[in-house]
Symmetry: C2
Subunit: 751 residues, 2 copies
């Protein structure tokens, strides 16, 4: 039923073109044709959508920073109270001998019970009390260039890194040689990892990563900006090769001692999703084997580093991908929420730690685990059968995207999920006792939300295809808007804009609905023939079409549509927010099913009388660069021109964590690697293909593109090439305009 | 007078187009349009001009190797005598347990007095006596991969290198760590250096180079063909930077001892042009300061390594460039020939060693040296005034290219020189007693010559604009042909060929004649308008237009002319074979005068009614890549499309020896370096410029092109780029066809 409604919605979308509101209201002749400088982030005249930056909660009061003032907003009615002026703060800072503040956007108000704000100022940090006007400063920040600052606002303990070592409160914690990195993100930021330090709730203990990558074969990047070009060596573990080894340490600032978790030889193991027990006596992490098909939620003793128990295990014939640490209920330190895709969609599971201790053996066989889970599932929501430690809290053909927090009083967990539509992200509350779900926002678009301390209010920063941005405060009790803070002006006001349409079509499997987006020139004439450019990404972890402002159409898409191209994008199977099966049908042969789905998009385009099927181009970056190259080579009769940026060419040159999840190792899956190695198809190139790579690409190393160029030279085919010096895995900043002018010229020359 | 005649010749050439002989005789409709595979070396159907490979002298008999037989030719009449069959040699080799010979092209006949040939066969070498049928073998060749074999055929002592060390007769002579290279060419092959070992005449002593380059900043090249790309570090001393240090050792195989020349600190000094005294008791070399404006011919004691005397000094306000070692007269071990450009052209000077010892102080002041030379020059040819040690043997506005050897009986030195025309290379004999000069060949074209042992005959392998190749034997007594060995068939027989014309025009200085070459399509119609592509090199040490077959037009030039382009090349000031002033007018500002001259060529083209001045392209490699880029940027209104291969972009990224000769150091000549740094002009780019670089270019490192790309991105201009992986300073072999297809497409797309 739900599916049907979503299908109807999509059909509706497909038939009604979206005219951006601004241009509808204005006389077309008064509009300006936008340039790349207007439309590309980094451009001189690019306008970001209006926003209120760094809104945050101080308890249940909303804090609104500005350049010269800091306000508190009453969430019930939005009424503003001035907390501090910059002038006053700077006067106090000056007396304390601390550099001045140039705006309030970096301040933080983490202390619910104190009228204090945290001011991160150069080489120090200071706390300013807006009631007393007093400044407390702290001098133990590093004098050398440091990074990865992590302050526990309870204990005020501060962790940071200098080069490859970890420091706490000015004291050096680790003293490792080059090649061993402490206190930083590991496993190349996969498995939801984005940092390397983890304070215990009260800040008395610090868990941190220690990564030994000295055994990883270095990849040579070259910096040509030096007097004589120099080598930048990065440690890049390629699929099937020796990878780095990670350990987890626990540092106690009171004793200045480090205990490493006693986890055995870390070779070919991933230690992910670190979290603390509320009582700080144990640490949880999800361990994954190198095959990535067996995950274990482990509990370690924080004092001894000994493994206490393997609490939950998950296996999958393809892969499991833990990305969310467990979260304890604020009102019950024995219960935590665990997230899993085990029913095909990411959902919440509530576990009882004591029961887990009682029933769960150290290691379950596959059969035992399945049996246990059958029991739990049969028991149904909200009921914890005897001998079972957990229940499923949410379920259905949609997925939980994140846990935003709790309303402890009402015993609710607040989440973001795709229940309304897989293009949307909405906010829900889930009653923990029975899993009852209720929408908290307006049910439209994409919402980015911050939950207040008590869980009573949210700051709701949202957009929809028709709304560039709106910022509201809502009560989680009934989802009603209590204060409206911003209606962003149309960032494209006064500019000629194309029309945007979306719809669905059937995937190459004949049954799965896929979403597409189409931009047409504003002066579109259905009796004419238009060339088409497909913008593609196509890989996991991303979705190109969402119910954001203008369906997330990119500036370059708008630019090209204005130039007379139909811009088309399709989220093929393998992309995110559609569930596990939708994603993992590409397992061990990345790019093949994805390409078949893109061809379905082309078949649809060819049914449209106004599409010139002899002039179809394709462009994408990274996975989209792979897709672009693959489409040009596998379907040379369809695609005339392609621009592939930072493409993966051969998965054996890609890194271990992401690559092996989807492809296994080259040794395990030689046929798959061969089938997906685009060098094999270099001889198929017929159209014009421009490959663009950054010379400092440490995500998808330049070897991909250069080895493909060599394969084409060997095969006597003629791709084009461009290198952006001094950029990493994309061209950002001012040069992004150059990049898009370069891409535009290529399509204009050849399509 | 001579100049006038040469001018007339050029005029004549300019008016009469050269139709390749083959196509004149054939019905045009029966001709095949050649492909790049036909015309580019490395192409599958490319035909090298017919040749007799590895002709050589055995005394005064000409040896002619074939696959199955080795012949001796009587030079008086060309009559052939069979010396050996491969079958017979292989029978003898088999008995001696030595691998078989697959052809005779590698054999050598260095022993005038013995009926023996040297057979270099794998891991051994063998001597075969064609009278007795006996084989003598030798086992002391290295088992490891070795290189730089240098056999002294008198002593049979054999030198070679394994990695960075020198070996003689299987014994390791040097034992240096990585970073110190022995027995190999040094100073990046400048100053005429092409090897690192120098046997004394009888082979009793071996002089060798020892180069310490451990202090040279390495340049990182990347090899992308490995499983994970790896670093190839090359030691590349860039202009103004710390350079390598060279010492010269002398090894005595009898005592197994090495003596290094006692030359002091080798920092910033070049040790060039090593040669031996006939009595093996002393060694000569020409030492040059880092500024390259002061050269000293030094004599060292071969036993002690002590400097005996600085014999001759040369200074020049721009640079001196010694490229030829001294050569002793075979009939007078006290006299040697020294070559110098001191009168503006490279000429021969005869010196008396004893007199030099008597008159020459260790170090002459500049004034003293000038005074001495004035005295010598006043004395005139052939007369050695009292107190003077040398006389000038040849003179005139032409230059000696090389000494080929001597006729000892007649006391003549045989040379190659440009006396007939600066486009030609002809053979002359010079009577040593009075400098009397006589032409030995037919006075046409370009001659590559080998002189017989007695100096009585030459093997004359020559070509001219109308003659692809002819091989004759000539007597040096009267230059008459005594035997005709080959008339090569037209390599382009049966193919459509454009016409070739040459002529001269005035340089930008208003007075110097410059040679140009023009190719027109075979079906040229003077009433039509044709696009033009300028092929340019433009740097020192090279000349694009010579009186070789079809005036040395390249295969790609022929191909493009066939496609309907006028192909134009001009040897601007700065190029070779025109004397010192012609070359060194570019000193300290490389590329500027050269560019002005190229513009003179364009001005001439614009006077031609059939030239489409709106469609002028330019292409060149290396120095020609610099010229191409410079012309596109300095004259954007003239040049619409350019393809620059392996370009020098900024001379400070080029190497010390070549770069500082013409540019001094960046510290000495900051304005010049800035003026010639093409990154400064990146913003001027208007037309289409494709830069091509090889990823293993160790002559002109990739930093040139990549830093230019960055400058263009910064300046928001849009060059194109291509990289050839796994190639060095050009694209050779099979891939050369791909390269030229790539270049062709670029001009076809944009010109």
């Amino acid at each position: 039923m739900k599916k049907l409604i979503r299908g109807l919605l999509a059909t509706l979308l497909a038939t009604a073109a979206l005219y951006p509101m601004n241009t509808m209201a204005q006389d077309p002749s008064s509009l300006k044709m936008p340039t790349l400088e207007d439309l590309i982030p980094g451009g001189e005249t690019y306008r970001y959508t209006e926003n209120l930056y760094e809104l945050q909660w101080w308890g249940d009061q909303c804090i609104k920073p500005e350049i010269d003032s800091l306000f508190a907003l009453n969430p019930k009615n939005g009424r503003e109270t001035l907390l501090a002026t910059r002038e006053a703060v700077n006067r106090a800072l000056e007396q304390a001998g601390v550099p001045k503040l140039s705006h309030f956007y970096n301040v933080r108000t983490p202390w619910t019970d104190r009228t204090e704000m945290l001011l991160p100022v150069s080489q120090k940090y200071a706390v300013y009390n807006w009631e007393t006007g007093q400044v407390t400063t702290r001098d133990d920040l590093p004098k050398e260039p440091a990074a990865n600052y992590d302050l526990n606002t309870e204990s005020l303990n501060l962790a940071y890194t200098v080069k490859n070592n970890l420091y706490v409160n000015g004291k050096q914690v680790t003293n490792e040689p080059e090649g061993i990195v402490c206190g930083q993100s590991v496993h190349r930021n996969e498995f939801g990892i984005s940092k390397g330090t983890f304070w215990s709730p009260k800040g008395t203990l610090l868990a941190f990563y220690r990564m030994n990558e000295s055994m990883v074969t270095p990849y040579p990047l070259v910096d040509i900006t030096q007097r004589i070009a120099i080598l930048d060596r990065i440690r890049y573990p390629m699929a099937g090769m020796l990878s780095h080894k990670v350990k987890v340490g626990i540092y106690n600032p009171a004793t200045d001692k480090v205990v490493y978790l006693d986890a055995g030889d870390p070779k070919n193991r991933y230690f992910t999703n670190i979290s603390w027990a509320p009582d700080e006596r144990s640490l949880f992490l999800i361990e994954l084997n190198r095959d990535q098909n067996h995950a274990k939620l482990c509990q370690y003793d924080a004092q001894t580093g000994k493994l206490m128990q393997v609490l939950i295990e998950e296996r999958h014939p393809k892969y499991v991908e833990p990305q969310q640490p467990i979260v304890f209920l604020p009102w019950d330190s024995n219960k935590f929420i665990y997230q899993s895709q085990r029913d095909g969609y990411n959902h919440l599971y509530l576990y009882d730690l004591e029961r887990l201790h009682a029933i769960q053996p150290q290691e379950l066989t596959k059969e035992e685990a399945e049996k246990l889970w059958n029991t739990i599932e049969k028991a149904g929501k909200g009921k914890t059968p005897t001998g079972v430690a957990g229940v499923q809290l949410t379920s259905g053909p949609w997925l939980v995207q994140s846990i935003l927090g709790f309303n402890a009083k009402k015993k609710e967990v607040i989440i973001a999920a795709t229940k309304e539509s897989s293009l949307q992200s909405n906010i829900y509350k889930v009653r923990v006792k029975d899993g009852k779900l209720a929408l908290v926002d307006n049910g439209q678009g994409v919402h980015y939300v911050q939950l207040s301390a008590s869980g009573t209010y949210v700051i709701d920063n949202w957009s929809s295809p028709q709304v560039p941005r709106s910022i509201d405060i809502r009560a989680t009790s009934d989802g009603k808007e209590t204060a409206h803070l911003l209606t962003a002006e149309d960032p494209f006001k006064g500019l000629v804009m194309p029309t945007v349409e979306t719809g669905t079509l059937k995937a190459a499997d004949g049954k799965t609905d896929l979403y597409w987006r189409m931009l047409k020139p504003r002066d579109f004439d259905p009796t004419k023939k238009y060339p088409v450019i497909v913008y593609v990404y196509g890989g996991p972890h991303a979705q190109m079409i969402t119910a954001n402002w203008m369906y997330t159409a990119r500036g370059w898409d708008l630019y090209m549509a204005n130039k007379g191209y139909i811009m088309f994008t399709l989220d093929n199977r393998g992309t995110s927010n559609r569930g596990l099966e939708f994603e993992n049908c590409t397992f061990r042969h990345l790019g093949i099913e994805e390409g078949k789905d893109q061809v379905k998009g082309i078949e649809y385009l060819k049914t449209l009388p106004y599409v010139d099927a002899s002039r179809i181009g394709v462009h994408g970056w990274s996975f989209g660069g792979h897709m672009t190259t693959a489409l040009m080579l596998r379907y040379p009769e369809i695609f005339k021109v392609g621009v592939a940026g930072g493409p993966v060419i051969d998965w054996k040159y890609y890194e271990v964590m992401y690559g092996e999840r989807y492809m296994d190792t080259p040794e395990q899956n030689p046929e798959g690697y061969k089938q997906c190695d685009l060098k094999q198809y270099a001889g198929n190139l017929k159209g014009h293909l421009l490959l663009i790579h950054d010379d400092h690409d440490d995500t998808c190393v330049p070897q991909h593109t250069l080895s493909f160029i060599k394969a084409c030279v060997d095969a006597r085919t003629y791709p084009d090439l461009f290198i952006y010096p001094c950029h990493k895995h994309n061209v950002l900043g001012r040069d992004r305009v150059h990049l898009h002018e370069k891409i535009t010229r290529y399509f204009e020359d050849y399509l």
